[in-house]
Symmetry: C2
Subunit: 157 residues, 2 copies
DNA sequence: TCATATCCTAGTGGACTACTAGGATATATG
DNA sequence: CATATATCCTAGTAGTCCACTAGGATATGA
């Protein structure tokens, strides 16, 4: 038995927490050191993560004294799915179910009739439904709102 | 970026394929060697997998010439979730969301208000909804039937 | 007896995670 | 200008895990 396969990486968790913290700030910037302390993230590791986020355009930075990081896009345009794919790679239980990094299963005879694939396609769709429709803003907002999910979770296949 | 985090293990895929093949047989038994060839699974690896399945009571075996393996439980009582947990461990994107192996996130201040947790709870619930309600029989049956999903996918939280 | 099975334990190469380390470069302030 | 404070960039590393392979002990039917 594996430890936990479906688990997201620590790095992705840090990235999401950092982005949420930046969204909390709203307009002001914060240094990596301060952010690291506030969110209990190893500082040097956080720097690498912020570099990834910057490379993707989610975050902007300023160097030197009084420098720091700030969100570059509105919090309601950044989805959990986007961040997760950026840091952790494809969201797909099988390579043959990935949209951004499709690869056939090497030992699979016929993809169209694969019964394992058919079931995990449902899993993938439902996970994506949540991740691609939930934004940082959703996660922050009003505790009253129940983080709702919309229609058509399982696609049309 | 990771290769693919949400991916199930090759071992779990083999286990599911093996069980489906056993369910196809229906009543008759088959040797590991034959099953391995049919499903393109490394023979020795498959033996280990079958041992796991046997230990869990899903499969029975007979030794010696004319020995082999057979399903021990009806195919409509074996869920994908059960097999996945058996082979791959907990189905939870965060340790604090696992039901069978709960552990708090070490760097998490307050679980109740954790915004990352809140979102991934939805992911976990929707994945479990599929996996715990889909049986081997469902995966085998009639191509007409669309592998439907029932109500209340997101729990009551 | 002998071929054919399952059963059981070890071990291994390669990949990946979660960091740490060290310093180069840029910027505000005195 | 000097200095403190930041970001930026590249390497490296201990530990863990996956996906097997290897080798043989044990049981069973012919």
């Amino acid at each position: 038995m594996r430890d936990d396969p479906s688990m997201i990486s620590q790095k992705a968790k840090y990235a999401l927490r950092a982005l949420l913290a930046l969204a909390d700030l709203d307009a002001v910037s914060i240094s990596a050191a301060e952010l690291a302390e506030r969110e209990r993230i190893p500082r040097k590791f956080l720097e690498q993560i912020l570099a990834d986020l910057k490379r993707d355009g989610l975050v902007q930075s300023r160097r030197g004294a009084a420098g720091g990081y700030a969100l570059l896009k509105p919090a309601d345009t950044i989805t959990f799915g986007h961040v997760l794919r950026l840091i952790d790679g494809p969201i797909a239980p099988l390579p043959c179910l990935s949209r951004i990094a499709y690869r056939p299963c090497e030992d699979c005879e016929d993809e169209a009739t694969c019964r394992v694939r058919k079931v995990f396609a449902l899993v993938a769709n439902s996970a994506r439904a949540v991740l691609d429709q939930t934004t940082l803003a959703d996660a922050i907002a009003h505790p009253g709102r129940p983080l709702g999910l919309p229609q058509d979770i399982f696609g049309t296949a």
